[in-house]
Amino acid sequence: MVDMDKKVMARKMGRLIRSIWIFNWFNSCGVTELLPVVASIYDMERFGLIVVDNPKHADVLIVGGYQTEKSIKRVIRIYNQMPEPKAVMALGSCTITGGMYWDSYNTIKRLSDYIPVTIYVPGCPPRPEAVFQAVGMIFEHVNQLKKEVKGK
């Protein structure tokens, strides 16, 4: 995110975490344990998260699975289309260090070389509870930021 005044950022993030709209960009198996998150038991709509269908409406871009040289260009384009304030969640080990494909000639090894990543969720593939823990960490971080700003 661009540098904003801390008070403004605390207010914007405070409003953002109440209703997060997600855009998915999945390549392969990293996502298979994320699909139940939308469904009945690990219901993600109770926290206000819904899935939208184009990046211009979205706040968070979830990048899952290995990215190739061809698809990382599209990811950068999609990231540039999202309006501020925005965040990126890197899902799965393949986006953190290359994962299972660390010695492949066609995949990229670290997602953070290409776009700024807010939170990493390790796992191959990560369990649904891991995604909820990640979202919870973002909530705690924003609440702490708001407390700091209010305390000043």
Partner: protein
């Protein structure tokens, strides 16, 4: 010049703001109920009831992006036209026990034209954003407007014709006539069946007008990535979201005016005696309850039960089945009136 002389002017200035506030807040409350109940129908726990308020507050914090090849003045004014048309429509409708604010200055014909404006604004917004997906979405919105206006017009003209026969000295198209003389007790058995068919057709037309499944082809998510609202972000999208919420209130009020304008006060007046303001409050709360029931049937149940139609299926449905049903109902009511006399 005393205080009372200024009352009409104060009322004229104060009423649109109050109505806009009521429409927005109750529309968002209805949306919250819709998401919560639909989630329970799908065996999940849905978002909290205040979730649409959080959505709107978040949307107004986001950055506003105007595409480079778009036409800026149409692009930025489309949500404002949509919102303004809906608040104007609220001024012509009777809200609960209160008479319409602009009751003497327009009637159902003006309302029919005003109700076409929000769809047209969404269409203009879709065409002016320079994206092929949004052009497809705007075309589909245009097809929707062409489709559902036909049965709606037949329903309105059926009612107006019946009123012009029953009460020849009252204005046939005025909404006050509709409110004060409900039609259910003035028809025979054939007319009752005709009115029932008209009610069902009106409910189906409302689902299409509000833009929910199975008729949400304009804003089809998975097919055309957002449709006509594709390029909108930030406060423009927030205004479209609010307009969507107010539209439910407007269309629900229209159904209540046509078919269920009953008030609790006329029923309970014989048993209790309360001051005038208490009766107004009770009637207003009863109106909110009726609006909630209509929103539940028209929006939530239809959304959960049906998938999305194709474009040609929507046109065939409205111009084929819905028009046929409303014409049959019209002929039944005519038969009932002419045969009885």
């Amino acid at each position: 010049m005393s205080w009372e002389n200024y009352m009409p002017y104060i009322y004229a200035i104060f009423a649109p703001f109050a109505l806009a506030l009521f429409g927005i807040i109750y529309g968002l409350v209805l949306k919250g109920f819709d998401r919560k109940l639909a989630a329970h129908m799908q065996w999940r726990v849905g978002p909290p009831l205040r979730q649409p308020f959080y959505d709107v507050l978040k949307l107004f914090e986001k950055e506003n992006i105007v595409p480079k090849n778009a036409v800026p003045w149409i692009f930025n004014s489309a949500p404002i036209i949509s919102m303004g048309a809906l608040i104007l429509a609220l001024l012509y409708l009777p809200i609960g026990p209160f008479n319409p604010v602009l009751g003497n200055y327009g009637d159902l014909i003006v309302l029919l034209y005003i109700l076409a404006l929000p769809g047209l604004a969404m269409m203009l917004g879709g065409f002016s954003s320079s994206s092929p997906y949004s052009a497809v979405g705007a075309q589909r919105e245009f097809i929707m407007i062409l489709s559902y206006e036909f049965p709606l017009a037949i329903i309105i003209f059926t009612f107006a014709w019946k009123y012009s026969i029953l009460y020849p000295n009252l204005k046939a198209f005025s909404l006050l006539t509709f409110v004060e003389h409900p039609l259910w007790q003035n028809v025979g058995i054939l007319g009752f069946i005709g009115l029932l068919i008209l009610l069902i057709t009106m409910l189906v037309v409302t689902t299409g007008e509000v833009g929910r499944m199975p008729f949400d082809i304009a804003d089809a998510g998975t097919e055309i990535s957002g449709g006509a609202l594709l390029e909108y972000t930030g406060k423009n999208l927030g205004l479209f979201y609010l307009a969507d919420a107010v539209k439910i209130v407007v269309m629900g009020t229209l159904i209540i005016t046509f078919f269920f304008p009953y008030n609790l006060s006329s029923l309970l007046l014989h048993y209790f005696s309360l001051p005038h303001y208490a009766w107004l409050t009770i009637d207003f709360l009863f109106y909110l309850l009726k609006l909630f029931i209509i929103s539940f049937v028209v929006v939530t149940v239809m959304r959960v039960a049906f998938p999305r139609f194709r474009v040609d299926q929507v046109v065939k449905f409205y111009w084929g089945y819905a028009t046929l049903a409303s014409l049959i109902a019209l002929s039944l009511i005519v038969l009932d009136t002419v045969g009885g006399v």
